[in-house]
């Protein structure tokens, strides 16, 4: 049973090898990759159900017992993240297929995307701090390469901020790992959880928490470490940008939930307050950046920053309900954000630009695309009964019950400004008349791209209308994440004579 846990990591690696062995992009290669991704999605869905019913699964790599070996742990939260990443990858790959005919596709695009996916999956499953560092490096390297793979002369430089900030982050993370090892004598999450509880009040533990926050804030794009994101994301092809927008910052959010919820003791309340305030600033500054932009993909990129603020605010409020809100928000956000980037890709495809001064008339031309955009934009702004409303409602409710009026006010202001800048895209690209000199046409490939965005919109609608079901899963995941003793018990359960000892 537990050996199945290697699948979400090995399957993308094997598929990447398959795609490399068939280096010429062809229909067969595309079909193979799509089937593999659909299989991964199916496995992840099954895993969530299984883990919810039977508790977390633990796999100790190489059969080494817990304090010595690396473990993979799949609980409900990890399962949810695996589902979301497989779903986003599948949608973005299909969108890319509709966008580019096989003979024009870059032969390395699919293998790199799959390697990126393998790294992301490892970071969701790992139960070891240094292994998390390795997982980050695996997906970062793949993401560097993918980012510049199809960049033309004007765009290559835009990867520089992304690469340099992540190099700094990696060096910092490595030092933090060393620091954690010197403090605890272990890098295993469960062991750190046990030993850090005994160290509460020690200033070194606070310092470790601060360093970890800094490292993952870079990944998540929290204020003031977000500037790289809106520079680099709009320069990518839309199907790749949609995957980055959906998943990469959310890996940072996931790790924040994992580290501050499970690994570090809940007594570091000053750090939680720091996260909440950084989150509030992130929300407002991100959305102000979005209001100032006039390109679809740039506006959406700033919105990633702003929306990460909501999730981080929920983490900062630090209660079981707030964690459930954060997890629900992640589920909602990944689907919505990926769809919006894919819609932005269709806009660019149909009109040849995504600058709002030179677009227009899409509502008449492609009502289905307009509907998908409208639903997802309103969901992002938090209009009931769409999925974004429930996430925001829970965060505001928890904020009010904790008496954090200022933080709640920040989040509501950001929400209104989100609506404003979404309306800007709506009027600029969809509602106003088409520019005179351009005659936009809806080609077959645009229709295919719209279909993918439409399918994601339907999933998002289901999340909004069936919010009760998804909230139940999110609450279960939040409960598991915050129940540190149960996590430790699960990981240490396979200890005694089941495995090798040095």
């Amino acid at each position: 049973m537990s050996s199945l846990l290697g699948l979400p990591i090995l399957a993308p690696l094997a598929t990447a090898l398959f795609a490399l062995l068939a280096p010429r992009p062809s229909v067969g290669r595309r079909v193979g990759v799509s089937i593999a991704l659909a299989g991964m999605l199916g496995f992840a869905l099954w895993l969530v159900g299984y883990v919810q019913a039977n508790g977390p699964i633990v796999l100790s790599m190489g059969g080494w017992v817990v304090p010595y070996g690396i473990v993979l742990v799949a609980d409900t939260l990890a399962g949810i993240m695996l589902c979301l990443s497989s779903l986003t990858a599948l949608a973005c790959v299909l969108h890319g297929f509709a966008e580019t005919p096989p003979e024009k596709e870059d032969p390395l695009r699919l293998p790199l995307l799959l390697l990126l996916l393998a790294g992301i999956h490892l970071s969701f499953l790992t139960g070891d701090l240094f292994n998390l560092f390795v997982a980050f490096e695996v997906f970062l390297l793949a993401s560097y390469a993918l980012m510049t793979l199809e960049a033309d002369r004007r765009r290559s430089r835009r990867a520089l901020p992304y690469v340099t900030i992540n190099l700094l982050g990696s060096a910092l993370f490595l030092c933090t790992c060393a620091f954690a090892y010197s403090l605890f004598g272990t890098l295993n999450f469960a062991e750190i959880a046990v030993r850090s509880t005994a160290m509460v009040g020690d200033v070194r533990l606070d310092l470790l928490g601060l360093l970890l926050l800094l490292v993952f804030a870079i990944k998540a794009g929290l204020f003031p470490l977000y500037y790289w994101l809106p520079v680099s994301y709009p320069a990518m092809p839309s199907s790749i940008a949609a995957f980055y927008a959906g998943m990469l910052t959310k890996v940072g959010v996931y790790v924040l939930i994992r580290i501050f919820g499970t690994v570090l003791p809940p007594d570091l309340s000053w750090l939680h307050t720091a996260i909440a305030w950084a989150a509030a600033l992130t929300m407002v500054i991100g959305v102000l950046g979005a209001v100032a932009q006039s390109r679809v993909q740039s506006i959406l990129s700033y919105h990633i920053v702003s929306q990460v603020g909501y999730m981080a605010l929920a983490i900062g409020l630090f209660s079981r309900f707030a964690f459930a809100a954060a997890i629900f928000y992640v589920i909602h956000h990944i689907v919505v954000k990926a769809t919006l980037f894919l819609v932005g890709g269709v806009v660019m495809r149909v009109q040849g630009t995504d600058h709002l001064d030179r677009t227009g008339g899409l509502w008449k031309l492609a009502p289905a695309l307009g509907l998908a955009f409208l639903l997802q934009a309103l969901s992002l702004a938090g209009i009931p009964p769409l999925s974004g409303f429930w996430g925001k409602y829970m965060i505001v409710k928890e904020g009010l019950s904790q008496g954090e009026w200022v933080l709640v006010a920040f989040s509501l202001v950001a929400s209104i400004l989100t609506l404003l800048s979404m309306l800007k895209i709506w009027f600029g690209a969809f509602w106003k008349a088409a520019p005179k000199d351009a005659a936009p046409v809806l080609s077959r490939s645009s229709r295919g791209m719209t279909a993918v965005a439409g399918a994601l919109t339907l999933i998002s609608l289901c999340i909004g209308l069936g919010a009760g079901h998804f909230l139940g899963i999110a609450e279960h995941a939040a409960h598991e994440t915050l129940d540190r003793t149960a996590y430790v018990r699960t990981v240490q359960a396979l200890q005694p004579d089941q495995g090798k000892q040095p």
Partner: protein
């Protein structure tokens, strides 16, 4: 673990030098800055191994664990980190060269200019 002031000073000097180089506008200096930075981090990890006179560590046999030895695990970690650092350095070299080829300048001057991303036409997109 005994205090390792010498290692701490070494890491501090390496980090300070690397930050100074990273902040430079010239690509070559930036590249050396990031190479130095990863080495500074590696030395910091190495320091965690401790002094040979320090604690007894996990070793194969019970007798061997009585012998003073350094902790081998951080050295395994560095090995991984060196490999990763090498691959990232290779990528950074290529990226900086690519930007040099694309923009004709090996400095960051002018890179921050908010350029028009340009329009991807139907034909250009495929």
């Amino acid at each position: 673990m005994t205090a390792q002031l010498d290692t701490a000073v070494l890491v501090a000097v390496l980090t300070a030098g690397s930050i100074y180089l990273c902040l430079s506008r010239r690509f070559l200096r930036m590249l050396f800055g990031f190479l130095l930075l990863s080495n500074a981090a590696n030395v910091a990890v190495l320091a965690v191994s401790g002094d040979p006179t320090g604690k007894a560590t996990a070793t194969v046999s019970a007798e061997a664990s009585q012998v003073a030895a350094v902790d081998p695990l951080p050295q395994a970690l560095i090995l991984t980190a060196i490999v990763i650092g090498f691959s990232v350095a290779a990528y950074l070299t290529v990226l900086l060269y690519r930007i040099y080829v694309d923009t004709g300048a090996a400095t960051t001057t002018g890179l921050e200019r908010d350029d028009d991303l340009g329009d991807v036409g139907e034909e250009a997109a495929g």
